[in-house]
């Protein structure tokens, strides 16, 4: 194996240098990673504005802020933008592209051109999706699930554009997944064994396997749905002899694993962040790896728990309840491994650590409601209510988005060479954590008491809790201000970070900040023990370590 810098295979002079390279068809995995990250954040703010419209409308029980049709369009766009244009691209594409080549000791991804193609599918898909709001009949109105026959009876143009956009994004996701699998399995530096890889590699390997196995099924399903809309076939149209439940099965065969596509990389990222800021080895590396693989396998066979009210036969309900409950085991193993990693560590309570701890708290709460939802009797009671909305946002916002913020605070020094401001970061965390919980905790009560999701109007008895939720949403919107000020101001005036501000051992920190095009000027370092923090001197005696020791980082 020979190693050459990525510039070797691109004619010099064609690739723009400086800031222009971020707008080019760059083949550098670091540039592509940041392209994903910034594009993702742009769509995050768009999706956040749409969420603002939803929460403003729901501050009163009648439909007064927007019309019912507009509300349906807005909630469909909110879900689609947040899932396909924000979380999946950022947590996979952005951090995956930036970090995986470092972690395997490579100069770039296995297929740099495919990588650039995968990224450049995203902006057109996003523009297409947002633009569909302005076409005749407006954007799709059938939610991010696009269930027929609803999606067959709502305005067709918006729905077809929605399908086209999701197909492009699915293609981007599949290309990315192929690239990650090939990079992790084939491009490892000689001497680096699989069980020595940082945990994020395992998370991305598992995620990419899910992407490759499940995304094509969604693509095929949406092609059939578009036939139903355009050519008036009857695959999913009961009026023409079709079967709507088949659509639901195929859709959830992708969209349940999609939850793991959104949350497994977050597991990996948080497993990178915690040991560094707790100055302790990652607890239970081997069990972490097998938990990820178990989640991948189980994640593929639990989809019908979304369909307990779709006339599923009893044996199917039983099977999917049991399989879903099983997922709590590997997930619980990871949860306790994170706690054990923190236990007795010298915690640096910086923004990255705070957001990671916020993730652990929110995620365990969302996980518990998830186990509850897997039980058929309970699920039938709360199906399609705000309880499900609350559960989902605890996983995807309280879980993944918190980790994205933790990761930005953690890797920003590597991306830019400058530190983020910690005071603004902690303010950001405080506002986000309070706002998030204020927004979504009341929705559990709303759902338990029967408020349905996806409606612009509701029973007036739900008004107070909805207004509390809307105040929480406002707080979340405000919380982005310190973040935005921080990332922009720090890029110009932040404290110089140096190569390795966190004294980390993972390979991306063993080079300059920002790294050179070829990642390392010399040979790639061989990091066989990426989490060996504080081993010789840091033998903290668990019998005498108290909770206060944990909170004050042992510095009292």
């Amino acid at each position: 194996m020979t190693v050459a810098s990525p510039t070797d295979f691109e004619p010099q002079g064609l690739q723009p240098q400086g800031w222009l390279k971020y707008f080019s068809f760059s083949l550098d995995h670091k540039v592509i990673g940041l392209q994903y990250l910034v594009t993702g954040f742009i769509f995050y703010f768009i999706g956040g504005a749409l969420a603002g419209v939803i929460r403003t409308e729901l501050a009163s029980p009648i439909s007064d802020f927007v019309s019912r049709e507009t509300y349906n369009e807005v909630l469909t766009l909110h879900g689609t933008v947040m899932i396909f244009l924000w979380i999946v691209p950022v947590v996979n594409g952005a951090f995956g592209n930036y970090l995986i080549p470092f972690y395997v000791g490579a100069r770039d991804m296995a297929f740099p051109r495919l990588n650039a193609v995968a990224f450049w599918l995203i902006p057109p898909a996003g523009i297409l999706l947002i633009a569909s709001y302005f076409v005749a009949g407006g954007a799709a109105q059938s939610g991010w699930t696009a269930y027929p026959p609803l999606s067959l009876s709502t305005p067709a143009i918006g729905q077809v554009i929605w399908i086209l956009s999701v197909l492009l994004l699915g293609g981007s996701s599949i290309f990315g997944g192929i690239n990650f699998i090939a990079t992790i399995l084939k491009l490892r530096r000689p001497g680096l064994k699989l069980m020595q890889l940082p945990m994020y590699c395992w998370a991305m390997l598992g995620t990419s396997i899910l992407v490759v196995l499940s995304t094509p099924v969604l693509a095929g399903t949406l092609i059939l749905l578009s036939f139903d809309i355009i050519a008036h076939t009857g695959f999913f149209n009961p009026a023409l002899g079709g079967n709507v439940v088949v659509y639901q099965h195929l859709f959830w065969f992708y969209s349940h694993p999609a939850v793991y596509i959104m949350v497994l990389p977050a597991f990996g990222l948080v497993s990178e962040i915690l040991p560094i800021h707790a100055r302790k080895p990652l607890f239970g590396y081997t069990t972490m790896v097998y938990s990820i693989l178990a989640i991948v396998v189980l994640g593929l066979i639990v989809w019908a728990h979304h369909m307990f009210t779709s006339g599923t036969p009893p044996w199917m309900r039983l099977f999917f309840t049991i399989a879903t409950s099983f997922i709590a085991v590997p997930t619980g193993i990871k949860f306790f491994n994170w706690l054990a990693t923190l236990w007795g560590g010298k915690l640096a309570l910086n923004s990255a650590m705070l957001f990671s701890c916020g993730f652990i708290i929110n995620f365990v709460f969302g996980g518990i409601t998830g186990v509850a939802l897997a039980q058929v009797p309970f699920d039938i009671h709360v199906h399609d209510t705000y309880f499900v909305v609350a559960h989902f946002h605890y996983i995807v916002y309280g879980g993944t988005v918190f980790v994205i913020f933790a990761s930005v605070y953690h890797w920003y020094p590597k991306f830019t060479g400058r530190m983020l401001n910690e005071d603004l970061g902690r303010l950001h965390f405080l506002l986000t954590f309070i706002g998030f919980n204020l927004c979504f905790t009341p929705q559990h009560w709303l759902g338990l008491n029967g408020m349905p999701r996806r409606v612009a109007e509701y029973d007036p008895s739900f008004t107070t809790l909805n207004q509390v939720s809307s105040v929480g949403a406002l707080l979340m919107a405000i919380s982005t201000l310190p973040f935005l000020i921080n990332v922009i101001w720090s890029a110009y005036a932040g404290e110089i970070a140096g190569d390795n501000p966190w004294n980390a051992l993972t390979p991306e920190w063993l080079t300059a900040s920002p790294p050179p095009v070829e990642n390392w000027l010399g040979e790639a370092p061989l990091v066989t023990h990426p989490y060996d923090y504080g081993i010789p001197e840091g033998k903290i005696d668990l019998r005498v370590a108290s909770g206060a020791d944990l909170w004050f980082g042992g510095k009292r």
Partner: protein, 216 residues
């Protein structure tokens, strides 16, 4: 509240070393087709893509089998498919896998003109298959939107036919590149191997499709 000071040395216990790789750095300036001198993972990547593609078919097959089990057609619109033409077509595709394999082994043994003949033979078989599909389409008594079976039939065979068409185009490109002095030679035959892997995949899918659509 604490973060370690910038620039302090690596914590104790760091297992970091910089061992040299097996070959010297920067020996691959020719790297245009070599993906930056990395290990060649292109066939592996293609195989991964084919797994994904196969999952699309798997989704279609699952939908078809479920429709069949849950949504039986009314008696007056059910129709028994003719078996002769599809069986001949199956034979053509299976044979074409062998002819493609012959093309590959001829190339590897340096017989480039024989390789190109076998490639043309494979193209002929592929085109004959597509022509057979066309004949079948024109003789069927149902159209795309007539009923659920008709829609599924055309979606499955049409999606597969699209794959065969792409395959034929790929083989023609390989045939052109395998000429004397072309891009594909005895020592550099990734393009041929990729097209061959894809072609075998398309054949395999057809055999499954033939089994569940015509025989079952």
């Amino acid at each position: 509240m604490t973060s370690l000071a910038p620039g302090s040395p690596n914590p104790a216990g760091a297992a970091v070393s910089a061992q040299p790789t097996s070959q010297a750095h920067g020996t691959s300036a020719h790297a245009a087709d070599d993906h930056g001198g990395h290990v060649d993972a292109r066939l592996f990547g293609l195989a991964t893509f084919l797994v994904a593609d196969g999952m699309t078919f798997a989704g279609f097959f699952a939908a078809y089998l479920t429709f069949r089990a849950v949504n039986p057609l009314p008696a007056d619109s059910s129709y028994e498919l003719e078996l002769i033409l599809p069986t001949i077509n199956t034979a053509l595709l299976v044979i074409s896998s062998f002819t493609f394999h012959r093309a590959g082994s001829n190339l590897r043994s340096g017989n480039q003109s024989a390789c190109r003949s076998w490639l043309l033979g494979t193209v002929a078989l592929g085109v004959a298959f597509l022509a057979g599909q066309m004949v079948e389409y024109f003789n069927l008594p149902f159209g795309l939107t007539d009923n659920l079976f008709a829609s599924t039939f055309y979606a499955l065979t049409g999606f597969h036919g699209l794959h065969v068409t792409l395959g034929v185009i790929c083989i023609l490109i390989v045939w052109w590149q395998a000429r004397q002095g072309g891009r594909i030679s005895q020592h550099d035959h990734f393009g041929l191997e990729a097209a061959e892997l894809y072609w075998h995949f398309v054949d395999g899918i057809w055999v499954v499709l033939y089994g569940i659509l015509y025989l079952l």
